[in-house]
Symmetry: C2
Subunit: 409 residues, 2 copies
């Protein structure tokens, strides 16, 4: 056992008795580096967090995305506490729900309405239903290797899921609009929706930006065939553009799903859509006991205001570019061919010849041991609390990590 | 327009432009009394809340159940704020997740493990999948008129839902175990699970307690046929017994779902189960970005501790009995045959001859206008902040409300 993670491991041993897998879902240590990365976090502030053993990390995962302004952003947390002083769970929504919907309709070009939930899965699944209700069709097209949540229709893990629940989901490959053409020919008049992320961010692999003309082709096919175009902007939403990632890529979606960063860590998911889908949106039931709390709506209002009023988004992109360029240079200096893919604010490093991910895992293990938290299998996140000094430090550690990987070969 | 709700209505007019239905789901004003009850809440404290027009209410809905200790319970909110000071969204779970699972395994007789999510629907759907994975069977039996959430397999609203997604759900009537026998004969070896609430709490109708021997019959059939018995204790859980409602009714479930009140309003859902289902529980993927936050786990730990250490549960039952007896007496005194059904801590009033719910809606309208919030179509909730003086006041208002209903006839 790595003594550095003794308390993490002790807690995990306790957890394994009383929780399936000890830690389940995307936070399962098997998705990280079992025995070579922390299992439990104790506290966080700005761009840093501390695990239960007291080890400090420069955080390049940001809670898998939600933390966009930095951990415990003072203005967000102050607004949240002021709202919490008024109460948590009411019989009715509060005024912040109306304000947040108005703000989103003003902010997002394709939003004529908005609604709120708790999980990303809540809104991706609901958007699919709205498309089915609107078109009277059953089938949905998604891109292979994309994560739209853990619900039956899209889960990557089939255990306990019935074939019937997935029977109407068709798959195509990213950046291959001709595959959508083929699906449309095979299932003419049967496809309700195409759901996609603005760029491709699979796990265990490099991110892929949309090819020139890709989104135009997708939109053209959808228009021609009466298919609803759903954008799942849950991962990148508000980190690339406060008006939504579709602005960056020139996408014109019909419905858009957000979650993750809109409340800077507070649990809220959002669906927005064009006017013509309002009737279907009103017909398709969606609800949850905790969804109408003003606390998360105030967190979102404050987060959006700060993103609008500051240069946070430009700064995240600038720092991400510095990290990307620095990592690619350092990799080359150590004799590795590495690529940092994706938008600069959501970068992900891969080694070009690394089929079993051995190099990537070794690199992240060495970085984590030196206090820089890079995820080996999932894209990273820059937040507004990161500084040039943080990037300097990350590159210094990356230099040592590349050297250690080379040495370990 | 009722001037008493002017700000509510003004906000709703704004909301109707930017949110489907203005207010969707179970908080839609159509589920209450449009124009005759508040649409938006501003703040709450203890057993009271205030709407955006400044009207004060004695709260007998408690946020549709989550508020069990009273709004803004000082000990819960202090613990929550202390945890929030450490951060909201981490890359890993925190120690409170392990502590909460250990507490639940110690507290709940059938719990050998626990896991956590955000919505009740998250855990009811997951429990169904675990049963399917465990048995290798497809079909699920539920009781007509029961709400297990808004997911496709159980939603009461078919818009946007495919027949395929519900094809393996069979229905029976509450308190009719012979119907389960018949379903078992028709689908022998095909039924994975029976999912039920501990007693029947439909909307728009009186609650129905389990008949003598009902649960024994259900358990016996499940044992004989290898069917997984899932208890949906989301609505009543921890309000009747800190060890779970199954203790009150002598039920021996295999898997149990909780949500609502366990965090006194903070968003958390729970599934627990017996050891023999651990393997299936580990196989069936479940995850959500916001699910591992320690904030809600600390809220749950504090809420459970207070429920254990105080006589809150007995007091809620005692006050509920006072309300029930008082309302039934007052109804009779005004010449109405009324029944208060369900467990005393979750009471619901119905008029015996009231097929169009006219009397019930009039009664609640009159009570709400006098500052006592009774829901016309959904069961009510007592919380630990209610006092004898609150019950006195509620009965005083009920007396006037019954008189007004009589007068309006």
């Amino acid at each position: 056992m790595n003594e550095r993670y003794r308390k993490s491991v002790d807690l995990f041993v306790r957890a394994a008795r009383v929780i399936p897998e000890g830690i389940y879902g995307h936070k399962n240590p098997g998705f990280l580096l079992p025995g070579e990365s922390p299992y439990y976090a104790a506290r966080a502030s700005g761009s840093r967090y501390w695990d239960v053993d007291g080890n400090e990390y420069l955080d390049f995962l940001c809670g898998y995305g939600p933390v966009i302004l930095g951990h415990n952003h003072p203005q967000v947390e102050e607004a949240v506490r002021r709202q919490m002083d008024k109460g948590i769970a009411f019989n009715h929504p509060g005024e912040p729900m109306v304000e947040l919907a108005e703000r989103l309709v003003g902010l997002i070009s394709v939003a004529d309405w908005a609604l709120f939930a708790k999980n990303g899965s809540d809104v991706t699944t609901w958007a699919i239903r709205v498309a089915r209700e609107h078109t009277g069709r059953k089938k949905v097209v998604m891109v292979r290797g994309t994560y739209h949540g853990a619900h039956a229709w899209c889960s990557a893990y089939p255990a306990g899921v019935l074939p019937e629940e997935r029977a109407n989901v068709l798959k195509m490959d990213w950046n291959h609009p001709e595959q959508l053409e083929r699906l449309v020919e095979e299932h003419r008049g049967e496809i309700a929706a195409v759901i996609m992320t603005p760029y491709h961010h699979p796990t265990y692999a490099a991110q892929v930006m949309p090819a020139e003309g890709y989104w135009d082709s997708i939109r053209r096919i959808c228009d021609r065939e009466g298919i609803v175009l759903i954008l799942d902007d849950i991962r990148a939403g508000f980190r690339l553009d406060v008006h939504g990632s579709h602005e960056v890529f020139g996408i014109e979606p019909d419905l858009v799903c957000y979650a993750k960063s809109i409340g800077n860590g507070h649990p809220i998911a959002v669906a927005v859509g064009r006017e013509e889908f309002r009737e279907a949106a009103e017909a398709v039931f969606i609800s949850g006991t905790f969804w109408f709390s003003s606390v998360e709506m105030v967190a979102a209002l404050t987060t959006l205001r700060i993103l609008e009023e500051t240069d946070a988004i430009a700064e995240m992109a600038r720092l991400g570019r510095r990290l990307k360029e620095g990592l690619e240079e350092l990799g080359a200096a150590h004799g590795f061919r590495v690529t940092v893919s994706g938008p600069p604010a959501l970068p992900y490093l891969t080694f070009d010849d690394d089929p079993d991910l051995y190099h990537m895992q070794a690199f992240c293990r060495e970085a984590i041991a030196r206090g820089v938290f890079f995820h080996p299998h999932h894209n990273w996140f820059i937040c507004a609390a990161h500084t040039d000094a943080d990037i300097d430090r990350a590159l210094e550690v990356a230099d040592a990590a590349f050297a250690a990987v080379r040495e370990g070969e």
